[in-house]
């Protein structure tokens, strides 16, 4: 087992490509992703309705080392402040295989 940080990031789906770029530019290559996430937050209801992805969120789950997390933390904060969204961080253990 190895200590890791787990990031759960929910952002507007249309911003997904920019988030992936941000992660990759900062050395985080792996992520899992769900499109079509619905919910409500300080930018209103994201009900998934409509012909574009304007009202749909996406959820990213990322496991990274503390060092990687510290490197990206402030950039992620600025990204979320602009694009909207949330990032939840937890300490997890990674099963080495």
């Amino acid at each position: 087992m190895q200590a890791y940080k787990k990031l759960e990031i929910i952002i507007p789906k249309l911003e997904s490509r920019l988030l992936v770029k941000l992660l990759q530019n900062n050395g985080i290559k792996g992520y899992s992703y769900w499109g079509g996430v619905r919910g409500s937050g300080d930018r209103g209801l994201q009900d998934g309705e409509g012909l574009s992805d304007t009202f749909v969120n996406a959820c990213f789950v990322i496991a990274c080392s503390e060092e990687d997390f510290n490197r990206i933390k402030e950039k992620l904060r600025a990204f979320l402040s602009e694009a909207g969204g949330v990032c939840m961080v937890s300490d997890v253990n990674w099963l080495i295989h």
Partner: protein
């Protein structure tokens, strides 16, 4: 106004299905159309209109008149967001003003398709090149909206977005808007319609013509459901936003009608040009604005265009503009 045109439009099944969608939301029915079906229907309509427009253009060919109409379309797409922005700045913040201005400067493909259906039912001819006019009007408004937002952001000493992570350049946003599935499909079908032979286009008629009206009616049912759901978001909107959603499209239509009169544009083409100028985007522009101006309130500019301007145009606007054009154009 000739009440017959208005009444005929009002009792047209296509429009009535739109009202059925609104009614279903009002009575809280569980009627819902899966989003993938909605997407298919919108793509189907764009496919048909693009193909038909291209096929018709291959017959009529290009001439100076067509270029003039296309030029008017682009000029209007640049002008409408410009003056809309300054009207909106009186009441809204910078981001909302820019996003609403871009929304109203751009066009609604569904309103355009409904206007084509209206012309067909009134046996009024129109040029296939108007499809190109629609595609040309999609992007300029987005550029104007973003440039204005950037200019005023600097003026108001807000940090320029380009320096923040997650920022997206105007070039990227315009690229996204032009690569939007709707734009690619309608322009692609348009080009295919131009290069295909008449006989090969005719073989697609059972799909592109025979079921077109039924599909449009079903799609408008879905649009009624969507508009109905978005209406509730307007409860908190100001009276100014509601007035803007009706009066500015009417002003845009008046300018387009004036230009069509001055340049003696054919009646059918003039109606389509007027409808393009009077309509507001709720597919491509909101997606572009969501990326470029994420702080703008999508819960405001989408309902304004989808729940107010769109129904106004398809129910009252189209027959009203047609009536006026009938009076002034020979």
């Amino acid at each position: 106004m000739n009440l017959e045109i208005l009444l005929n439009n009002f009792i047209n099944p296509t429009i009535l299905f739109f009202f059925l969608g609104l009614f279903a939301v009002w009575v809280r029915s569980d009627l819902a159309i899966p989003s993938q079906v909605s997407k298919f229907l919108s793509y189907y309509l764009l496919f048909c209109i693009g193909l038909k427009g291209g096929a018709e253009l291959s017959h009529s060919g290009l001439n100076a008149h067509i270029f003039i109409v296309l030029a008017i379309a682009v000029v209007m797409a640049l002008l409408v967001p410009l003056y809309s922005f300054f009207i909106l700045r009186r009441r809204f913040n910078l981001f909302d003003s820019a996003a609403i201005a871009a929304t109203y400067g751009s066009v609604s493909a569904v309103t355009f398709i409904t206007a084509i259906n209206f012309l067909q039912e009134n046996e009024a001819p129109f040029g296939g090149y108007m499809v190109a006019a629609m595609a040309l009007m999609e992007a300029p408004a987005i550029i104007v909206g973003l440039v204005l937002a950037d200019m005023y952001r600097q003026k108001e000493a807000q940090p320029p977005k380009g320096e923040e992570p997650g920022a997206s350049s105007i070039r990227m946003v315009v690229r996204e808007a032009m690569a939007n599935g709707s734009v690619v499909l309608i322009m692609g079908s348009f080009v295919i319609g131009i290069v295909s032979s008449d006989s090969s286009v005719a073989t697609l008629a059972p799909f592109t013509q025979d079921i077109f009206k039924g599909m449009l009616a079903f799609f408008l049912l879905d649009m009624g459901l969507l508009a109905g759901r978005r209406l509730s978001a307007l409860r908190q909107a100001s009276g100014f936003a509601l007035r803007f959603s009706v009066l500015v499209p009417m002003a845009n239509a008046s300018i387009a009608i004036g230009l069509a009169y001055l340049l003696q544009v054919d009646k059918g083409d003039a109606l389509l040009l007027t409808v393009l100028c009077a309509s507001a985007s709720y597919i491509a522009v909101p997606a572009a604005m969501r990326i470029s101006l994420p702080k703008a309130n999508a819960g405001l500019y989408v309902p304004m265009s989808l729940a107010i301007t769109f129904p106004f145009n398809i129910v009252l606007g189209i027959p009203l503009y047609y009536y006026i054009l009938n009076q002034i154009l020979s």
